[in-house]
Amino acid sequence: MDQTLVEFVKTLRTAEIKVSPAETLDAMACIDKVGYEDREFLKNSLALVLSKTPEEKEAFDTCFENFFNFDHFEDNDFLHQDDDDNANDGDGDGDGDGDASGNSEEGGSGGGQGASGATPEDFPELTLQPQSELGQLLMSGDRNRLTVALVEAGREVGVTDIVVFTQKGLYTRKIMDAMGGKALGEEITELQGHAGIQQKMLSGTLKKHRDRLRDRVRDYVEKQFFLHADESGKQLREELLKKVKLSNIEKRNFKDVQEVVVKMAKKLISIHSKRRKAFKRGQLDIRKTLRKNMQYDGMFFDIKWKAQKVDRPKVMAICDVSGSVSNYSRFLLMFLYSLAEVLPKVRSFAFSSDLGEVTDLFEHSTLEDAMAKTMRDFGNGSTDYGQMLADFKSHCMNDVNNKTTVIILGDARNNYGDPKNEVLREIYDKCQRVIWLNPEPKMSWSVGDSEMKKYAAACHQVEVCNSLVHLERVVGNLLRNVS
């Protein structure tokens, strides 16, 4: 029974429900108390112990239905279908035979009606037993053993490792082979080669059984796929998305990317939200002060305050939204806004030549909308970094202080215009950090109209940034550097 639970927990984990070993133990204690008898009761109880958010509860529901329905359904279904088929078998065979013999007899003699009617009963008993193991198993009609054999074969070939749906056929065949399908196939061919009616009949029956078994195996594999692979396939896709160049991500994957970004952001939030610094004023913490000053003879020498402050970086993100770079800025902005809990003060700007603030836009509308509007308002026009820096200086320089981090995302391709790198230098002097993220590889930084070399001199940090992994690292560093 414990084995069942452990496998269930494994299934839950693939469905992205985080279940710790301790929770598995809790679940066992819970099952001891509840038992397997009352299904709904069991489900409610396990849901309480194992799933810990509304989303997880939903996933848990489907998992539970799929998982605990399986054996039950399998047995029932098999039994049902088998009986059904047997009945059909009998009918079909009887009919066929009756017709055939009827025809022959009609052709032969007219008085054979009685004999014709009796033919189905006279139908020779199938006395020959198949030689192959699987054949014997099939003929014995022992469903439980067959199910066990199926599950064991599944385990043997590792059906739980199935990742994408195209593997279904492969695993079906593997399981068939593991169950002894080859021997059975050979036997069938051999039997067909024989002339005897017994052999012919046996081969027919075996064939039918084999086909049905194959359907069943395919069904089984499909269920395993839904239990194990659906989500791990997703994980695989997400891993890939993290590494792929952002500009190559297709539109249909945006939703997935958004999920990935939110996940990454959550990770960063949990790492960084606990960074705290003692405050220097506010309410007196008597308890701490007394404790601390016991050693100074009760004189209030080292005073402690109650309030604590989380020091959060103030971020200004300036994003180039001209065609080649807009994909990157989209994800940077997405990242920054997903971090709202630890980065409450993000201001974002977009430009291709003139700079405009898009903070409100991104806060109040969906990413798609915001991006579209930004592109509409700022997207057209040739890139002019000099103009952008000049605009930034005139509008926002006053808000820049030694706590501000300025992130600039762009390829620094200035169309041979005036780079105005002295303005960037001014910003550099005034703020805490200037980080330049360039989606182009380092190789091409000094090629053509790129001004990266000049700008790099006025940055604290220059990074190549063209995938989510890069972005995560940059933003993670950003949060770490603030202390």
């Binding site: 809790d26 009761f41 109880s45 849901a47 309480l48 309030a307």
Partner: protein, 316 residues
């Protein structure tokens, strides 16, 4: 007493009946949670939108078991001195003064520094002993001999630190006070702990892991009718059905704050006060502020009031 409680919590059905007799209509999940909480000795973390009866569940459980309900309301900045214990600083300071004056008597006959120090040590750590300890809710709950129901309300309002503070209490039912040692709950009378959260922020995994997690959503129509029947028995069946239908319709709309059960109950009481027998548009219009708490919401609902009211009337 324990036997008694075992009886009251013997099975999910019994729990449901017991709750019902106390005018709290619990579905199977809720009853299962209470059942497991008692029998596994685990705290229950209850999440759900405001006003679905999270706090009420804890209170009703306490009532059902004839236990004291110790409540700790969480808020930002709540710390151990308010949740677990505090030293009585005033008393400590006073005693220090007294001691200063009597120091000579105490040290009488002591020769040399080492003897004096020895004598002083004999006082022990009286300043940090039980007499100077001011127990707060968590400590109170642990120390109660009869067992009790501990309600930690709106735990999502507290800080991360406080959550970590709760961990020891929730997993082992004990609290460590550096100066005194570890205080454990009576193993046979562990407090039954309920934590509620409105999900304003994620509760940490460590805390979630130690709890049973119960999510109470808005009830469906039938359940809500039962609840209203239990809470406001004097309301006519007809009006009750109309009212519940109307509220269920409202929940489908895109509102800033959808009405919760508590608001439905309030509304039912209001309508009884007004001696109304059936819903109509004017009546709804006049009493809308009982169920909707934002002017924006009221404004957005008003134009559709006629349709909604008619629908609610028609469905019954």
């Amino acid at each position: 007493m324990a036997l008694n409680n075992d009886d009251r919590l013997a099975s999910v059905d019994v729990i449901q009946q017991n709750f019902e007799s106390r005018n709290y209509i619990a579905n199977k999940q809720i009853a299962t949670a209470v059942f497991l909480a008692y029998h596994l000795g685990k705290p229950v973390l209850i999440e759900g939108p405001p006003g679905v009866g999270k706090t009420e569940l804890a209170k009703t459980t306490a009532e059902m078991l004839d236990l004291e309900c110790v409540r700790l309301q969480c808020y930002e900045g709540l710390d151990e001195s308010k949740a677990i214990y505090e030293w009585k600083y005033g008393k400590q300071l006073l005693y220090t003064q007294v001691l200063k004056e009597t120091l000579n008597e105490v040290l009488q006959g002591a020769k040399g520094l080492s003897q004096s120090v020895e004598k002083l040590h004999e006082f022990g750590d009286i300043f940090f002993s039980n007499e100077f300890l001011e127990p707060r809710p968590l400590l109170k709950a642990l120390r109660s001999d009869e067992g009790c129901v501990l309600l930690i309300d709106e735990v999502d309002k507290s800080d991360h630190e406080f959550e970590s503070l709760l961990l020891e209490m929730l997993s082992d039912f004990q609290i460590s006070i550096p100066e005194i040692g570890t205080i454990k709950a009576n193993p046979d009378r562990k407090p039954l702990v309920f934590l509620t959260s409105n999900n304003t922020r994620e509760i940490s995994d460590a805390l979630k892991r130690r709890c049973l997690h119960l999510y109470i959503p808005f009830p469906d129509g039938d359940l809500e009718k039962q609840i209203i029947h239990a809470r406001v028995p004097e309301i006519a069946d007809n009006l009750r059905n109309q009212l519940v239908n109307f509220v269920q319709e409202l929940r489908e709309l895109d509102l800033k704050k959808v009405p919760a059960i508590s608001e439905t109950i309030d509304w039912a009481r209001t309508l009884i006060l007004l001696h109304s027998e059936t819903l109509d548009q004017d009546l709804v219009n006049q009493t809308l502020n009982v169920i909707l708490k934002f002017q924006e919401d009221i404004e957005s609902v008003e134009p559709e009031l006629a349709t909604l009211t008619n629908k609610a009337l028609k469905d019954t």
